[in-house]
Amino acid sequence: MRGLVLAEWTKLRTVVGTAGCLVAMAGALVAVALLISSGNPGTYSDTDHVDEFRFVHRELTGDHTIVARVTGQESDQPWAMAGILVKRSLTPGAQYAALAVTPGHGVRMQTGFTTDIAGDARPGPRYLRLTRTGDTVTGSESGDGVTWDRVGTVTLTGLPPTVHLGLFVTSPGMTRVHPMRPGLVQIRPNTATFEAVRVSPAGPAGPWQALDVGGTSAPTTVEVNGSVAVTGSGDIVGRSDDGSRIVAATAGTVFAALPAIALGVLVTTSEYRWGLIRTTLAAAPRRGPVLAAKAATVAITAFPVALAATAAALLAVQPLLHRNGYRPPTYPDPSLLDPAVLRVVTGTAIVLTLLALLGLGIGALVRRSAGAITVVAAAVLVPVAATPFAPSWLQRFTPVAGLSVQQVRETDDTLLLPWAGRPWMGIAVLSGYTGLALAAGYWRQRRSDA
């Protein structure tokens, strides 16, 4: 067996194609990480909060109460919000108090980007009410619009007489999970339906206007009577460590997957191409050990290279990210000894190794580079390309599921990667595919002659 592995190692080392694949894999990991981290801040800005949402509002002077019934919202993201809001001005970052229904966390009253008061967690349509009295805003909720429960009272110091009062909708995919995971995060707007919208006292008031706070589109005038549907995206939240400093370092994984797959495929198919396989099998007639030696050689080359490249990328991008605003206290310096960081780095190397072995198995099965590369690459790249439109099971049950190991915080329910909260599940799915491919390759080797 040692001789076999040595023979495979020599072939891998000296064949230009396979060596090139290793270089391309490591290069893609480092290059994409550097690209994304250098002067490419994505949605990051210098503010300590995100303040983007769809706002259907009117300008009102004096003390007022707004009531609305949220009958439902489309989004199933735990922290999507549909509710009512009072805001000092339409500028992002301006003082506000919000009362909203969320799909995963019940009724919430929020202010100042960090204050978050929990209300009723029961599902179903809710009546929401915000009452502004001078500096204080009181939020109440009700199931029937008759008996009201107080959620909380907050003070907005120095709130001017004239404020904006209205309905709002968020869908956090775009801001909580930043755009550093290309093709892995689905960004969908949220649509909520409001009924029984009432502002009292009615008094003189401007028309209802709709606009995207923090966006660029022009405001439009809307009719609000009876039921009204509001569609929007964004989030209203204090900025917190979303793992950007680690995510940026592993952003090249999808790009490195292609050479990793090609490596695995070429280790088997290139021997068939040159007829070398006949020599190999004449020297070692038992098919099992030959395939095992190939798999072992691919694993012991691809894994360390991928691991070293990922770790190198992680360390190399930190000064760049720090310079671009990703720095403590919001974004603490990552350490390779942090269990989550360790999992992401080793997990990335494991994913690339498993993809190479998947290529090897399919290569042994079909024996032709074109078919093997296309099938395996398509199994990874097509789900990624289709992410914005595809149902979520496409990610969870295709080989690309392995990338779930890259979610930085295991329990973060706002991460929209496949298998959120269960980072190793995706590796299990990918291992299943790899195991099947290797078994099928072995079966073909046993059954048909070279």
């Binding site: 994505g42 074109a370 690459a377 398509a378 439109f389 149902p391």
Partner: protein, 237 residues
Amino acid sequence: MTSPLWALRAEWTKLRTTRGTAWLPSLAAILTIGGGAAVSAVAAPGTTACASGCDPVTLSLSGVHLGQLAVVVLAVLTVTSEYQTGLIAVTLAATPRRLSVYAAKVATVTAAVVPAAVLGVAGALLAGRLLLPGNGFPMALARQTVLRAAAGTVLYLFLLALLALGLATALRHTAPALSAVLALLYLWPLLGRLVAVEPWHAWLDRYAPANADPAALAGYAAAALLAGGAFFTARDG
């Protein structure tokens, strides 16, 4: 024996009889129709498939993203499989004029891809027409819009085949040629999403081969064909 017509006939025979390439045009059509039908069957206004606004024609034709794989493999293999088996030496001995051989390959791939693309696109549109109204899509579409989308898709697959053929001729080996085309198709758009800095973001987005306008794609195809032709005439075998 050296007339271009003979070269053409030889290429056609190779394409028809080689194990890999013979059934790839049919596969391209099947994937285009099947993929489109699958998407049309599950898509409904308000579902994920319609997150970014739903156009029935685009939905029906979404199988092209799978069908293009078969087209690319066909175009690449037309060139690289000859190098793989050493047949290229015989081909060039029989037809020493490189450009005749190259032109014959281009014509053969065109003749294989275009009918398959027409069939696939027509089938996919028909499948969409049958499936989408059941999911609540209005199907009162202007004939002109549909014809334009259909012609554009056929043109896309044709130009993609030429691009792959040119790259394969320049690179001569299956794995690198195929990887390069797959990267252009699937990884370029991802790079566009990664780079947030303007004008790079807009530039990457706009010129990605997978969603470039026909003129840009024709430019890529022409550049690849020229590069392939230059390598093919300058190099021995």
